[in-house]
Amino acid sequence: MEYVLQTNAVKKEYGRYKALNGLTMNVPKGSIYGFVGKNGSGKTTLIRLVCGLQRPTDGEIEIYGIGYKDKAAINARRRMGAVVETPSVYLEMTAEDNLKEQCRILGIPSFDGIADILQLVGLGDTGKKKAKNFSLGMRQRLGIAVALIGDPDFLILDEPINGLDPQGIVEIRELILELNKEHGITVLVSSHILDELSKIATHFGFIDGGKIVKEMSATELESACRKRVAITVNDTKILSRVLDESNVEYSIKSDTEAEIFGETDVTELTLKLHDNGCNVQKMRERNESLEAFYINLVGGKSND
């Protein structure tokens, strides 16, 4: 698999405080990588390091396979855009002027693509309105528009839906999906709202205490959070045969334990197992929400 961003054992210390404590993560090319963690877990710190705003105390950061200390890292950075915390826009300028300013910073001589970018983020009709008069959602979209100047193929968005109303959240979500699917941009999006990320992300990295505690694909996460029945029997071989005959998806955990996914007719299953000489000792329904999954992952209250 090709990766746009890889970090290896990255540490960042502010005095005695360890904001990142050996963080290792891999962002696959073409993905929407949901970077999930509670407030203060180190999400923004890592993003600052990746964007070159700060330097790691230790560890390696590679963008497109180029280390951050490498001279070629500058060229690699030209291929990325970012909105870190608040949108980085000049409040006294119009949306168009902000984009023109970024063109100058990047040395892009032509302003031809600006109208298209403004249209893409839904700010095509803001005219001479200054950014200071924009709503939070509009500023967020302007920040993304600025990050899109230079046609990047890797976009980093730090908490892009913070403080937005439901309409704004939907707009940002749709914009991220469009950028990923229609423009092929790899997006790293951080948030503490797992439910929102689960609607768009193709991959997840769960951070806690400055470390990635789990990296998984959306399919793996979905399977981890699926509705299932945990069953304990005296022989899982018989259980396996019965479930195969019924064409039910399941997972054998041990000689006596298994998990059956999806809706299960408990009475019918118990009768079939009884007919095949298999005793059901315990049966319990599990329906883990994304939040519950995350809390279990990071250890819940003990980590607060």
Binding site: Y14, R48, C51, G52, L53, Q54, R55, A73, I74, N75, A76, R77, R78, M80, G81, A82, V84, E85, T86, P87, S88, V89, Y90, L91, E92, M93, D97, K100, E101, Q102, R104, I105, L106, G107, V146, A147, G150
Partner: protein, 264 residues
């Protein structure tokens, strides 16, 4: 570097604050010329020797707010994210501050040249020398204000620090100049040719005088005050060397600290 300079200068071109300060500096010079005309003064030199002080104050205000906005609006991140090196960003900002001071000088000189030269008089060679030396003094001021603005990310805080520095340094420059201008001998009694003199206890001599002279010449504000009170007294041509030294020192310190700075 050229890209960053172009971006900075385009922002300046659209800055209301910048053009307002240009207007204020020009108005200051204009009022001074009007007073000179009203008082029938026939020497324009005073208007020229004073020029560093109003421009220094205008530069302190503008540089702090202009670069402070990069931090407060977060726009400095856009430069770093796309791979501009920190020392290049710093250097581009320093050059921008020098260009701003240059435009302030032009604004100040506009009424002096257009109105003053025709209605008051032409400047002496000494005043022109001071103008040339003063331009280098302004570069040192630019380096100082850029250093503060780039190291201290708080826009309001940096503006206050730069303004306090601008005025404090002027006061220090004034005090140092007043020591240096003390006469060696002072009259005690008598009249006309019969005056009797004694040694002035406040007159600095030897190593003390050399030290105070050097300190005054090192400080950009010391130079600015010196232009007013001591004119083109020698050693005038060593002052640009001091200014360049001070400017290089401030720029080096600022660039090194900015290079290591954690930006949020």
């Amino acid at each position: 570097m050229i890209r960053l300079l172009t971006a900075n200068l385009t922002r300046i071109k659209k800055s209301k604050l910048f053009w307002s300060l240009c207007g204020i500096v020009a108005l200051f010079a204009f009022i001074m010329i009007i007073y000179m005309i009203a008082d029938s003064i026939k020497i324009i030199d005073n208007a020229i020797t004073l020029f560093v002080i109003p421009i220094e104050i205008a530069a302190a205000i503008f540089i702090s707010i202009f670069f402070g906005t990069e931090y407060s609006d977060g726009a400095i991140r856009n430069k770093l994210v796309v791979g501009h090196r920190r020392h290049i960003i710093y250097l581009a900002n320093f050059i921008t501050s020098v260009i701003c001071s240059g435009v302030f000088v032009l604004s100040y000189m506009l009424p002096v040249v257009l109105l003053g030269f025709s209605c008051v008089g032409l400047p002496s060679t000494g005043a022109i020398k001071i103008l040339a030396v003063g331009l280098v003094t302004l570069i040192a001021f630019g380096a100082l204000f850029t250093m503060v603005s780039m190291i201290y990310a708080n826009k309001a805080g940096a503006t206050v620090i730069n303004l306090v520095l601008a005025f404090m340094l002027l006061i220090v420059g004034y005090v140092l100049c007043s020591y240096l201008m003390q006469p060696e001998l002072i009259p005690v009694h008598g009249i006309g040719n019969e005056l009797e003199y004694i040694a002035n206890p406040r007159y600095l001599s030897g190593a003390k005088r050399t030290f105070v002279q050097m300190l005054n010449d090192l400080l950009p504000a010391g130079q600015a005050v010196r232009f007013i009170y001591m004119g083109d007294a020698e050693p005038l041509w060593s002052l640009p060397l001091y200014s360049i030294g001070v400017g290089v020192a401030f720029t080096t310190i600022g660039a090194v600290v900015f290079d290591k700075k954690d930006i949020k």
